[in-house]
């Protein structure tokens, strides 16, 4: 597939907004999911290690 030039590639035959919009939204969804996962992990770890420390003291 030979695009000829960068601007052709971005333009996508005049439908650049739709093509890149779709890919962008998908990327955002994936980033959000991974972000939520990592946040969940961090919160859970903090809470569990806290509890563990308290148990050790008490």
């Amino acid at each position: 597939m030979n695009w000829g030039s960068w601007s052709n590639f971005i333009d996508m035959g005049g439908r650049g907004f739709y093509v890149w919009g779709s890919y962008l939204i998908t990327l955002v969804c994936i980033v959000l999911e991974l972000g939520q996962l990592s946040r969940h992990k961090r919160t859970l770890w903090n809470r569990l290690t806290q509890i563990m420390k308290l148990n050790k003291q008490g």
């Binding site: 739709y18 890919y23 969804c29 999911e33 996962l37 569990l48």
Partner: protein, 246 residues
Amino acid sequence: MAINIFKYSSPAAFYPIAGKMIPVFYVLAAILTIVGLYISFLVAPTDATQGEVYRIIFIHVPAAWMSMFIYMIMATWAGLGLILNTRLSSMMAQALAPTGAMFTFVALITGAFWGKPTWGTWWEWDARMTSELILLFLYIGYMSLTAAIDDVRRADKAGAILALVGAVNVPIIYFSVKWWNTLHQGASVSMTRAPSMAKTMLLGMLIMALAAWMYSIAVALSRVRLLMLEREKSSAWVQEVLESKS
């Protein structure tokens, strides 16, 4: 083989194994995505009728496939958890749901982005898009129900019933929506491509679908590990894991 599986069906045994598998699946997902995108943009040719905008299918179709596939896998795990009374199976089902819902959402949005330039409207009530929307409702129902029940085992089993009822209903719903659509003859548009699809286009979709599958496994395993820690937090093996990391 069967004995091996049951050995790893205890969270304590599965936790470290899942931990080792996760990076592998992420790497596979990344590689496949790169290859898939390469094919999608640099190999697959311009389409005769739709020009360049058809390239959205390289996300739309894999996302739609995954949304259906994950629902079936989720229902299977949930069903296994119900029948065999294994905790891990139910946890896998709950770990899969959000990713499945995400792909359903992506399928719907990319479908809209494809529809607007191609057929003029952001939304068409055709059989596949409408069924996809209903699938999203089924996912949301499952996640809402399991979240609303405090007792973990009740949540697992109730969710399993809902997921299985949903799974049985999916073909019925699809058939009825198809019937509804053809009779009302509103949308004669179809999101399925004409049979004469270039081989490279099919290849691109397959590779992207594989990438999505690897990604889903990685995310589901990560989530199930968190679920295991949460649910078994007072058990010895979790204490050991926490100790070793802190």
